[in-house]
């Protein structure tokens, strides 16, 4: 048989090809992990006004990243539109002592990477610059955080951007382009899940008629205070000098805290239902899932392990195996645990493919949800998930000064301590097969799935 190539003949004599070492990974005697999470106290400094900063040296390249994390988000916005207007100011106006054009020109001259994101419950402002621009960047950064240039133009601009939501997903500029279609589908899923809930609240055009600069300024003044902001600063810098610079830029800020976190009502689940958004595309996009209640600390580890085994990413998971690896149905089938700080999150599953296989994709993904609720996972699955979480994804959160400072800052903003990261590895390693089963039964709700399909209409509930 001419097509039987050399490699087949060679391997037929046994598991070893010549002297190539083909020991199975589990028999290689790979060392136990000796990773130790960095000590956050080595990074932390606290000003007299209560402002906490994490400062780290990372000197591979002459760059510095300045970040501020603020415990405020759209859910805190009693005056609808104030949060969005403040976001616009932070992004495009910069500090009050510069015009928007000057701010833009300064960022450009520094070749800065400037990002502002406002989530439901927290906000991030980050500025990455070459180290020779550090002094100017620090002044600019402190100005944006402490005294942003809030104007009526910002409010008007946001008001103009509020348009009625389009149901037509077609066209070049619509959200159903390939790059945006999964995002568009997820957006529709969230709109459905959070309909009539504070997390789903969005300002309307009328809200801005009543909104004044004073309202937005007050919103900023309430939440952008030393006790509600945590800084993360990392890069090619001198630690002591940076501590002094932080004190210089933020030390005069009057001490103030935010009185209490928001109270968020629980969400009410509803029976499984399909929601279709037709779009003439070569593929269809599928997102289905349900509310996720606030998860107590004792369940966090087992839920995380369960999700990793079921669908935790573009990796070796049950959903990937049963859709992509075995059948070639889709490029990806993954699960997303989205936990909120104060209220109900979501647990959803996403895939996309040519329309004719969307139905078997949905079926196979749903089968895995039922399966993981019905029987314990294998020892091997648990071994892989625990290793991946403790020695992979957890370790890279502390890969360098940038990521360590950032993750410590976010952890402190949320919990005011570092107990969770300190105990993370032990908690994950303690998870058993029974814990995974219990988490699946408690947090997976196949009878409450809201199924969003963008693309060719198809009844998935038959």
């Amino acid at each position: 048989m001419k097509r039987i190539t050399c490699w087949l003949l060679l391997v037929s004599v046994g598991q070893f090809v010549g002297a190539q070492d083909l020991t199975h990974p589990t028999d290689m005697g790979l060392p136990e992990s000796n990773f130790v999470r960095p000590d956050p106290s080595d990074y932390q400094t606290v000003l007299e006004n209560g402002l906490t900063a994490y400062v780290a040296r990372a000197d591979q390249v002459p760059l510095v990243t300045l970040s501020a994390f603020i415990r405020v988000g759209t859910v805190d916005d009693d005056k609808q539109g104030a949060a969005e207007s403040l976001l616009e100011s932070l992004r495009h106006s910069g500090p009050a002592n510069l015009s928007p054009d000057e701010f833009t020109a300064t960022l450009k001259a520094m070749t800065a990477d400037y990002v502002v994101e406002m989530h439901d419950e927290w906000t991030e402002i980050s500025l990455n610059v070459p180290v020779e621009d550090l002094h100017l960047a620090m002044t600019l950064f402190a100005g944006v955080v402490r005294t942003p240039g809030i104007s009526s133009e910002n409010i008007s601009k946001v008001a103009l951007a509020v348009v009625p939501e389009a149901n037509d997903l077609q066209g070049e500029d619509g959200p159903a382009l390939y790059e945006g279609s999964l995002t568009a589908t997820v957006d529709r899923f969230r709109d459905l899940i959070y309909a009539d809930h504070p997390y789903g609240s969005k300002p309307s055009g009328d809200d801005f008629d009543e909104l004044s600069v004073a309202d937005v300024t007050e919103f900023h003044a309430t939440y952008f205070v030393p006790g509600n902001v945590v800084l993360s600063i990392a890069g090619d810098l001198d630690i002591d000098a940076m501590h002094q610079e932080v004190a210089k830029q933020f030390g005069s800020w009057s001490r103030q805290d935010v009185s209490k976190p928001p109270t968020i009502v629980p969400a009410v689940g509803s029976k499984t239902r399909q929601h279709s958004f037709p779009a003439e595309k070569l593929q269809s996009w599928l997102v289905f899932g349900h509310h996720l209640p606030l998860v107590p600390d004792r369940d966090q580890a087992s839920l995380e392990v369960m999700n990793y085994i079921l669908a935790g990413g573009h990796l070796w998971t049950r959903m990937t195996i049963e859709t992509r690896y075995k059948y070639g149905y889709t490029n990806d089938a993954s699960g997303f645990l989205t936990q909120k700080w104060f209220g109900p999150g979501t647990y959803d599953f996403r895939s996309y493919s040519r329309p004719e296989v969307i139905k078997p994709i949905y079926k196979n993904m749903l089968d895995q949800i039922f399966r993981i609720r019905d029987e314990e996972v294998s020892v091997e699955e648990l071994f892989v998930a625990v290793g991946a979480l403790t020695e992979g994804t957890f370790q890279i959160q502390y890969l360098d000064g940038y990521s360590a400072a950032r993750n410590f800052a976010l952890e402190y903003l949320r919990y005011r301590n570092h107990e969770r990261s300190a105990s993370y590895v032990d908690r994950i390693r303690a998870v058993t097969e029974k814990d995974v089963l219990a988490a699946a039964r408690k947090y997976l709700r196949p009878d409450e799935m809201q199924i969003v399909l963008v693309g060719r209409p198809e009844n998935l509930l038959n």
Binding site: V11, L22, Y178, G387, D400
Partner: protein, 508 residues
Amino acid sequence: MKTLPLLLLIAMSLIAQGAMAQSSRYDLPIKEHLFDNGLRLLVIERPDEDRVVGKIFTDMGALNETPGQLGSAHFLEHLMFKGTPTLGSRNWTVEKGLHEQINAVEDALTEALNRSRNDLRERGVFHDYQHATSSPEIDELRTLIETLNIQVLELNDEGPMKQWYQAYGGTRLTATTEQEYMKFDLDLPADRVELFLRVEADRMQNSVFRNFDAERMILVEQRLGDLNRAETDFREAMNSLVGRVSMVYVPEGYNNDFSQYTREYQRELYETYFVPNNTTLIFIGGVTLEEMVPKVDQYFGAMERKPEPARYQGREPLPSAEKRLMWRSAVLSPRIDIRYQIPGVGHPDRPHFEVLEIALAEHLRNVMQDADIDGSLDINTRVVHTTRFGVPASINFEFILADSDQAAVAEKTLLVEMARLSDENIDATAVAFAQKTLRTKWYRTAADPNSLAFEIGHFEVMDSWKTLQPYLGARDATTVDTIRKLIGRYFIAKNRSVGVVTTAEQQP
């Protein structure tokens, strides 16, 4: 802060940058070891780090495909995730026999298809003539392959490479195939670096192409993703307008190609290019060259040096006339796309085009604004997914217009201004700004060991890893004079390809 001091500050910042010693900016402490079998090992030692980034680059990609098999290099990458006899099989002795049968049936199927084609003398048009007609024999052979494949599936575990990488702390488990390279990536605890060597050496020598036909559909899926973008068809038409010979200008497979893939062709690619003397290993992190050499030798040392794979032979003919494409579309925004062929990495002019790209963008935006032409300008060197090549590609001036009636004046304004800039220098501040932008971008790349390792490997397949640092330094040496000469030398009519997108309703 007022405007004047701010501008002064900006100018001072740029001047200070220019005065900085160039050599210190791009120092890359790369250590190299070349094994007897031709395998190249590159290490950047960072002893304080707990983890290490590992990459394995093979000098092959879409450039090495033949027409009718486009996308097969990318497909090979997918197949190389399917495991080996020692990774993923529960009974290799039995499974091996099934693969032998599948290969034999595929041989028979190919022969049957060829006979069918020759018997019928089908010579249809466009995409639908090849092997379009089936026969009972062909159907039977296809069914037999499916049946055998199901038996294989019952004997193997899916995703064994990812599984064990994940279990031992591996992250960033990705792979990429572009025109000039295929690479596999991992980031893992440094003291477990042997796992990467064990799996990658096995993947390189012993890959088993399991579940071939299902995996073929993943490529179809990815292609559909490309085609869902309204711009894809137009961009691909522009690529083929610019280039006449090189495989750099073709996409990763047309629908026709996916059905043509065979195990035999994939095996040929695999055995030709996945040889130690066509392979580079790169590590950045908590390992040393000294400790890596014996470890690499343990897993790769038994591989024999093979005949050197032939270098890519495609050579573009010298351009001889301006070419134009008129594209009528109901969904695309109106636009003008002007492209010029430019040399690949390795040519001394290539690094200066990166400075030109940024310096000219701002300048031309202002020119268009002054001419009251409403739209957005992007200058890039993208062809398919990649922006840099070791072979000639193109620099693209893409102007998306708010009003299609302005297409002619927009094109004329751009061309007139570029003609002017072939005689007159662009503002030096624009060049200094472009250089600072590129430096900062490089620092961001170098800050991430994963991105840095990619750049090193990419240069190795395009030219040589040793030319990366001089390439970066050359960009800092670009002057306004350099820019003017590049414009005069390359941006000429006979090197120009122009695409005009108008609405479907607009008829000449």
